[in-house]
Symmetry: C2
Subunit: 356 residues, 2 copies
């Protein structure tokens, strides 16, 4: 018996439609994802001379190590060249895992943006995760040439700390009635929380800022997205070198409202969106989310006064309620991503809702 | 004017061929890559009660943190279900970056195996990179409740150490004439070398072993690949729980030749491949590569005597010369990957070279 392949015309039509989708302007939804290119690389990094004590299988060494490099992992979709690339930088005590599969197993923003035809770059902050850190100060304390008091502090958030600071509910173990964070999967968030060694970094200029600016240049223009600890990093990176920064999205952090006129003039040239979730006044945190929100509102006004295209995206004002500090992992994370994508299309790419 | 789409029959045929490739047994080569599913998750992790000093924006805390979890990143190709998944675990002072884009910018084994229709899982060792680490001992030294001498040592390899131990050449800065490592890009390898905090782990049982065994079970069977520090981890994981371990590939490490009959009987049930590169006797390292090779040859014989399907893949014996310790990044890395894939097909999947 002779068989035809594909077995019938309907299947053939379906397959051709699926295949042509990336070529015909239909962004990829659920189902298989086609990547034009993916990989990882480092930005920056310099040599440092060290004397290290013996440890494990490695004897005492004198030589060089590389420090201050920033690890970046990326995916470029088939139609990625038609949009400005997006760089995501995670917050305190977290890694790029922030943007991947959510604690309850849904697609994270990293893949969602790729499916919306954006090239996506995930950076592990310098001194965190796959970027590594400079262990010199710890080794010097160990060998007794540096006082314990001089040892860099290690930031590590407890579950109890995260619950309220991330605004899951009014107190540990108790959720807000309209909470958007997937609390049933909170244990999976706790696993993402890792020690933050930023205190090991040069205190005059965080190398992550330098590398973010350099990454923008390397990409010939990118939207930088920061969150929490890194929320204001895109602005700070732009003050290092604005050349490659086409747009800024800052999510839930304190803003610097004391910038000078020259600095504001630099930032005012870059479209800026600042995003805050819900329940800002409803948790007792060691710092005030309302103060952060108020300060950032002032910063937005400063940018506007300097001629900038700046906007506060306060979700409750849009009728979107219950979002936590980890809003890229909240149950409505795709809806929030769509808001950011629409903002990029309009304010960074000037598409005004037109299909490219 | 009316246009037809696709514009002509030849293009249509080409497009249909490209699209059908994943369905018709043609593995994906260069060009776009289609992923059925990708993401990341953690294996294991338990709560630990801590009292932490104030650091940065975080006040002194008493509460719980999660430790000993293992971060895993994965990609499943369209035809992934037809093969046994492959789990890669990196070595000392490295992260899963080991398996990604090579220092000179070529495709790493992680993507290469996906293009050969294998589901690939990259694990950051517990206490490394995105898996995080337990900072308690450092914090206790900082606050003075633990003696400096009790502080865990931090393993960090210098460039000078790596050059000879990774067998790039006889001495720092000098390469072997037939060296396969892309020495012109060695700076990019140095950026991958990050502090190793394995000394912070429980000393009775490395949690990475437990999580590797659990990952095998979760995947309903996997080939575990270890390298260098983690080279013997697949065997050790199998001694924790062999249930999910369908095959073992151990690359360049010392083997334990003192296992008992019961342990060897357990391991003998799992097809095992051990791989070594070239120039084993040509560098002065703090430990001897020849001793490692000789010990592993003994181990292979022990497995065979116990009825096992075990094999030593010594590359120079196959006429493949000049491979370094970082052979997954060497210029002939695709050729080496093909050897591993052929071994998996034959010894783990019993395909004997047949197309599935």
């Amino acid at each position: 018996m002779k068989t035809h392949f594909p077995p019938n015309a309907a299947l053939r039509t379906l397959l051709v439609m699926l295949m042509l989708a990336p070529l015909t302007g239909i962004a990829q939804g659920a189902g298989p994802l086609t990547i034009k290119e993916q990989g990882s690389f480092f930005v920056g990094g310099e040599h440092r001379q060290v004397s290290e004590p013996a440890a494990g299988v490695i004897p005492a060494q004198t030589g060089e190590i590389t420090v201050n490099q920033m690890y970046v992992q990326y995916q470029i979709p088939l139609r990625g060249a038609q949009h400005v690339p997006v760089v995501f930088v995670h917050g305190c005590c977290l890694s790029s895992k922030t943007w991947e599969t959510t604690p309850d197993g849904r697609m994270g923003w990293s893949e969602y943006f790729v499916r919306k035809d954006r090239a996506v770059y995930l950076a592990d902050q310098v001194s965190r995760a796959r970027s590594g850190f400079d262990p010199s100060a710890f080794n010097r304390v160990h060998e007794g040439t540096l006082a314990n008091a001089q040892m860099p502090g290690i930031l590590d958030a407890t579950h109890q700390f995260a619950w309220t600071v991330f605004r899951f509910g009014p107190k540990f173990g108790e959720g807000f009635a309209d909470e958007q964070f997937p609390l049933a999967a909170v244990e999976e968030l706790y696993k993402q929380m890792i020690p933050d060694l930023n205190a090991t970094l040069p205190q005059n200029l965080n190398p992550t800022l330098t590398q973010m600016a350099a990454l923008g240049v390397k990409l010939k223009g990118a939207v930088l997205v920061g969150h929490s600890e890194s929320g204001f990093f895109p602005e700070q990176a732009a003050l290092v070198d604005p050349t490659g920064i086409r747009g800024i999205i800052s999510i839930e952090m304190p803003c610097n409202t004391t910038l000078g006129a020259m600095q504001l003039a630099t930032l005012a040239k870059i479209p800026t969106l600042i995003m805050f979730g819900d329940h800002l006044a409803d948790v007792k945190a060691p710092f005030s989310w309302m103060d952060a929100y108020t300060g950032c509102s002032t910063f937005v006004e400063q940018l506007k006064k300097a001629g900038g295209d700046a906007e506060m995206l306060y979700l409750p004002a849009r009728g979107i309620k219950g979002n936590s500090h980890m809003l890229m992992q909240d149950k409505n994370s795709n809806q929030l991503a769509d808001l950011l994508i629409a903002w990029i299309d309009k304010h960074v790419e000037g598409r005004n809702g037109r299909t490219p």
